[in-house]
């Protein structure tokens, strides 16, 4: 198949005549809503950063062991990677046309974001729940 402008639709899609896959609106809304949730979380992170930079290891552990901070940090990591995955996917779709390159980057994006969120949540739980043992 050549990469001409009329080839963005596959022959199957033309034969079915159903238009787009209709996943776009859900993606769009998920992106905006997670973006809204990240506004207060980002402001909280920007406010907490300098405070943590001033303190040492023990201060940081005490800070993250507080339930509110642990929950907000967990929400920031999970919602943040969810949002990044959706938004970077759009950038990949816009600029990478080749099927193999696009698919590879989309899967890499998914795996990095899921792994990042999982590692982040695990680290937060370890500090928050086991800091009494440190």
């Amino acid at each position: 198949m050549t990469a001409s402008a009329s080839n963005f639709r596959t022959p199957m899609s033309r034969a079915r005549g159903l238009g787009a896959a209709k996943h776009g609106v859900g993606h769009f809304i998920a992106e905006r809503v997670s973006g809204m949730a990240l506004i207060p979380l980002a402001l909280w992170a920007a406010f907490s950063g300098p405070m943590l930079a001033k303190g040492d290891f023990a201060d940081a552990v005490l800070w993250l062991a507080q339930p509110l901070n642990a929950v907000l940090a967990g929400a920031l990591v999970v919602v943040g990677f969810f949002h990044l995955r959706l938004t970077l996917q759009v950038v990949i779709e816009d600029y990478i046309a080749g099927f193999v390159a696009k698919t590879t980057l989309m899967l890499l994006n998914l795996f990095v974001c899921v792994l990042g969120a999982a590692l982040g949540v695990f680290a937060i739980l370890k500090v928050a729940l086991l800091s009494g043992a440190v």
Partner: protein
């Protein structure tokens, strides 16, 4: 695969960067994407910080030393700007998403405002950090 499908003509491609006069909403759009990609790296740096904290005092001190180095501070300064610019751009797009604010003059002003907000908020955070002795 044949191109002989009746009724399907070559679709026009949207014009790309080089055919446009440079304008502020375009700069805002490019910076929004740029800030997004910077924040992707920033999120990984944040996870690195959490893992260092979970690992123990030695790992934490080493990681904090890395972030506190001149290069680390430069990266964190850039990430602070990226964070605030992404935030103000998200608000700008919310206004556009509900169908308001498309008059060119207002759209330009709104985009300039999102740059100004990001610059002021970034300086505010770093001045607060400097005044509390965090740097």
């Amino acid at each position: 695969m044949t191109e002989a499908t009746p009724g399907v003509r070559e679709r026009p491609l949207s014009p790309h960067l080089q055919v446009w006069r440079w304008h502020v909403t375009m700069a805002g759009s490019i910076a929004h994407r740029g800030s997004l990609m910077a924040l992707y790296v920033g999120a990984l740096i944040l996870v690195g910080w959490l893992l260092a904290l979970a690992n123990g005092p030695e790992a934490y001190a080493a990681y904090k030393g890395l972030l506190g180095s001149p290069l680390g501070k430069l990266v964190l300064f850039g990430l602070t700007f990226a964070l605030f610019f992404n935030l103000s751009s998200a608000v700008r797009h919310m206004i556009w998403d509900v169908g308001k604010g498309f008059r060119p003059k207002f759209a330009d002003t709104l985009t300039i405002a999102s740059f100004v907000f990001a610059a002021v908020a970034t300086l505010a955070v770093w001045l607060i950090a400097a005044s509390t002795g965090a740097l």
